[in-house]
Symmetry: C2
Subunit: 390 residues, 2 copies
């Protein structure tokens, strides 16, 4: 089954990078783009109006969180995700599988699905390939994700929240284990494809296979045969090197149909986005811009700035002189630093919105660069400031 009123049209290509237009029942999306994360149906502290002003075209929400609270039936009664939240543009919902396994230390995965203990009422619940599609159909998102089994490529260091690279050859996951999870993900995708009923909702399947090029190719080819509306690269940012990631995405993309969106899940930093685009990715999501923003770690045209540093105490300049977001237009680094240090929620609201604006502006530049055949230059520019601290 394929969704109605959902299609991708390639606008321009520049080497493997591409700009495209995705049509959905709730409007068009120009790609490559970034999806701000609205876990509970809201981006922390930021209104739908502000997200639109920053250039957001599609938001991501977490099925597991919404299922627990307020429950998909309540959301349906209040007009589905669009009516409920007031964001009337496209929505993507994840499957909930990643959240369940990362939030619950007693999650059990078997062929049926994922069984976990709800932190809300302590009861055991099971999420299956079928039930996650059904929940997402009730939520009414434009794009639903299939349940997948996502295992780390290497053991993560405890502070790897941002899913940055942690090349750790010693603690690498057994290749047999990665293949087993990839095969199960494939079987679950098949079950999800059979379970879906809603024609107005696209469903994306997920390519797995760790950092192995042969597993990634195999996974992409077999998943592509199931004829989904779009495809995601899963299980990355979890221990592989930057070069391994590039290769994994590039090889899978060779086996995925050109006319379907490609989504790199959960990554990341500006340079990760540029790397992904260079490998042919259309969609991104990550908590990095909003979470880092709330903590005062800000992306700028000159590099990364940590607003808590004492050097900014009496700095009357904007976060980024090249940015046009409300924080940069109206407030100084000194004032925003004070708000964050004082626990004033206006601070994180402004700084998270700044980071999102930076990301969304960067992706607009990426689209224009691809259309002008100059993406490599933009990629190099971002690489040059990736580790630069102001």
């Amino acid at each position: 089954m394929r969704a109605k009123d959902f299609r991708l049209e390639v606008v321009a290509t520049d080497s493997l990078a591409r700009s495209a237009r995705i049509s959905t029942p709730h409007g068009e999306i120009e790609t490559p783009t970034f999806m701000p994360v609205a876990t509970f149906g809201a981006v922390r502290g930021i209104s739908a109006e502000e997200l639109a002003g920053a250039g957001a075209q599609i938001l991501l929400s977490n099925t597991y969180h919404l299922h627990e609270r307020p429950g998909e039936q309540t959301i349906e009664a209040l007009g589905g995700l669009h009516g409920f939240t007031g964001w009337s543009g496209p929505w993507l919902t994840d499957s909930g599988g990643f959240q369940v396994t990362s939030l619950s230390d007693r999650a059990k995965i078997d062929e049926a699905g994922v069984t976990f203990t709800s932190p809300l009422d302590g009861r055991r619940r099971t999420l299956t390939p079928e039930s996650t599609i059904q929940i997402q159909e009730v939520l009414g998102s434009d794009i639903a994700m299939v349940l997948d089994e996502c295992i780390p490529i290497a053991e993560q260091s405890p502070d790897s929240e941002n899913r940055e690279n942690h090349e750790n050859k010693e603690s690498r996951t057994d290749p047999g284990e990665l293949e087993r999870a990839m095969q199960r993900t494939l079987r679950w995708a098949e079950r999800a494809q059979k379970a879906r009923r809603r024609e107005s909702q696209a469903v994306f399947a997920i390519v797995q296979g760790g950092a192995s090029e042969s597993l990634r190719r195999w996974s992409a080819e077999a998943t592509a045969e199931l004829d989904f509306d779009g495809y995601a690269h899963g299980g990355l940012g979890l221990g592989e090197s930057r070069e391994e990631r590039r290769a994994a995405v590039e090889i899978a993309n060779q086996s995925l149909p050109v006319d379907r969106p490609r989504y790199l899940m959960g990554l990341g930093r500006p340079i990760d986005l540029m790397d992904g685009i260079a490998a042919g990715v259309d969609l991104f999501d990550c908590v990095v811009p909003t979470r880092n923003g709330r903590h005062g770690l800000l992306f700028t045209s000159q590099g990364v700035l940590s607003l808590r540093n004492a050097q900014f105490e009496r700095d009357d300049g904007p976060i980024d002189p090249e940015c046009d977001c409300p924080a940069c237009r109206n407030h100084s680094r000194g004032y925003l630093r004070h708000l964050i240090r004082s626990g004033e929620t206006l601070g994180p609201r402004f700084t998270a919105l700044h980071n999102l604006t930076y990301y969304l502006n960067l992706l607009t530049r990426a689209r224009r660069a691809i259309e002008n055949g100059r993406f490599a230059a933009l990629h190099a520019e971002i690489e040059a400031i990736a580790d630069r601290r102001i």
Copy 2:
């Protein structure tokens, strides 16, 4: 000494109620009005643009908090309160005395001033009538408050955060104690008047005297002789009855010059504002609308609504159909309830802004009612819904 460029002009009177226009170096204020509380130089989660949109004309900030963090020198370096915060309209700063004595359990008050232990660095500091004026001059507010000694009229019940009425005849403060604090407040006012240097800053003195009509009259007469730019009613909402409060304010106002603003400090609920206006008050401040708003206790044209109640789970209507704030224009009770219950900061941001909009709209109605000689009807309308729960 009197401030330059600061004056009050009465526009209309209706019995004791009055509407007026206060000119300040940073713009005019139409009174009666309510001053949203921006403790650290920001109203929790709400931007200056949104405050202006809601009808705010003047903000209040807390000298003690700003003195501790980021310090008045930093604020001065970043353009004073106006440049620092981006709120370019008038600012009122309190003296810090009330905060110091209510936040520190080891505050010591003597003739010199208030000595307290800083929660930031554990050091002992002293706030004197002179130093609080000096700090406020550096902050650059349009209206500074003198240091006063504020003692409760009766012992407060532990949940009396909102400074509502707690008529408790048994635990009443000794009248001699109230007179002593009133006399000291008067001596401190005299010292503040001598210490001030900044011509562009108005200074308000504070009438004390508990619930005693004779002490209030005495305090008002003696304070008025010191020729301040405005006068506040202090020490109310701390144990007296509603009728005692009305009498205390009314009697003091008889002794205060007609051409100076009158400010009822720290009160309160909509009905407290109406009572104050009926007794001739021009300015109000209180954390009730913002704090209650953040907790989902919302003021509406039909009464008070507690958004956490289960009855609103699937309610697709606005908080108040008669309100034009961003929350009421764009979101349902069901969605806002979900945000508050999920700890999403977008919820408190919207609900606090709703309450502020309700207050500021109510005060616009009060001004129009006074100008049309119909304030008593508005007062009765608000009294009728004061205790009504939706």
